[in-house]
Symmetry: C2
Subunit: 209 residues, 2 copies
DNA sequence: GCCGACCAACCGACCGTTCGGGTGGGAGAC
DNA sequence: GTCTCCCACCCGAACGGTCGGTTGGTCGGC
């Protein structure tokens, strides 16, 4: 159970990250509010007070976890912007990148997506998330303006529906086996861009009039 | 605040539904666990104990609300099955019907989608929801088999992504103005079936080889 | 022997729920 | 029309239990 990353002084045991991993898993299982420090300590094999040696409050644990998820998501936008090129290509990078973040950091992103904004920590996280959403919506608008995406749908509705699809990963994706993150990303992009309809049949005739 | 549906005996005040509406709104705002009977009573302008005249427990309130949402969703499947016809057409009915249920019963469905399964009540609700998902997945499979939907994507992934899109409504849709539920349903079906890509340009050439 | 990791015992506040009693207005008797 | 009774509706106070957090001190590897 304890961590061992060498170069640790004093009595061996948990470090912050080790505790945080267990805590986030418990938060996701029971919900943040419903997870008491008592049962958390039990899961860790520690006493309650031992946890307060590593974190000053329950809120701080939540803060750290949410920051981890938000930083990763913001990093995806940063990378896409840096890549340059057509808005449609940058959007493609964002969608695939977001799927990878969801898969790689499933616990902390799951926690993020369930935040409702009752405390200061939650409200700050929610504001960062909204800023992320605004930047994605702007990217969709740009892609519509350059003619890469259909323009008969509202950009904010499109980005919300698309990320609704991606975010639903936290409800059903469970890690197992190899590099299926790429496969999921392909599926998401396929549905979002080309839709589910059988590409043959009357589709071509519809387009040709 | 109190209800008035006539033919009510005794001292006028809240009935079960009136309390439930306020309770579900509070549950969605703070989270079920984080909503204490004390603040709920405050919102109702009642004492805590008065609530127990209408409900035997906090759990029972949750149970009623979840049943309302689940019954509506199951009704959509029932209606689509009764309509008959091609699987693709029945799936279309299910998608549009689900959007309407989400919009019409936004509070109770929001509550449903946040249930994690910590109590018996929540576990029962979760099982009903999973049964719903299985029936939708079966419908997608049928539509793939009849050649209406592309078959290169897994049916369960498709239904999860599609309902991820629909369920995201509870995160951002807020009632206001007219009959926009139809408009949202159109948008959802448009994205799900035809995708976001600009239908002109190289799409036709791709299809024609 | 320093110091990081840990513990048992405890705190005030608040939780969901219960209890015994109070109150006001529609319905039926007059 | 008005009287009276019933009952849906409501209250304050208190219950045992659990919450997040604190205190003061112990343990043990480098």
């Amino acid at each position: 159970m304890p961590e061992n990353t060498s170069l640790r002084r004093g009595r061996p045991g948990y470090d912050q990250q080790g505790i945080l991993d267990v805590a986030v898993a418990a938060f996701n299982e029971y919900g943040y509010d419903a997870t008491s420090m008592g049962v958390l300590a039990e899961r860790l094999g520690l006493s309650k007070s031992a946890i307060y040696h590593h974190f000053t409050s329950k809120d701080e644990m939540l803060d750290r976890a949410l920051d981890s998820a938000l930083s990763a998501l913001e990093g995806v936008l940063e990378q896409a912007d840096a890549a340059g090129g057509r808005a449609a290509d940058r959007l493609d990078l964002v969608l695939r990148g977001a799927v990878h973040v969801l898969v790689d950091r499933l616990p902390s992103v799951t926690l993020l997506l369930r935040v409702r904004g009752n405390t200061d920590v939650e409200r700050r996280a929610l504001e960062r998330r909204r800023a992320f959403d605004r930047r994605v919506t702007a990217l969709v608008s740009e892609a519509q303006a350059e003619g890469s995406l259909r323009s008969d749908l509202d950009a904010s509705v499109v980005s919300r529906l698309t990320f609704g699809m991606i975010n639903s990963l936290v409800e059903w994706y469970r890690p197992g086996g190899g590099e299926d993150a790429d496969r999921i990303a392909d599926d998401v992009v396929a549905v979002a861009l080309d839709g589910l309809r059988m590409p043959t049949s009357n589709r071509v005739e519809d387009l040709l009039g």
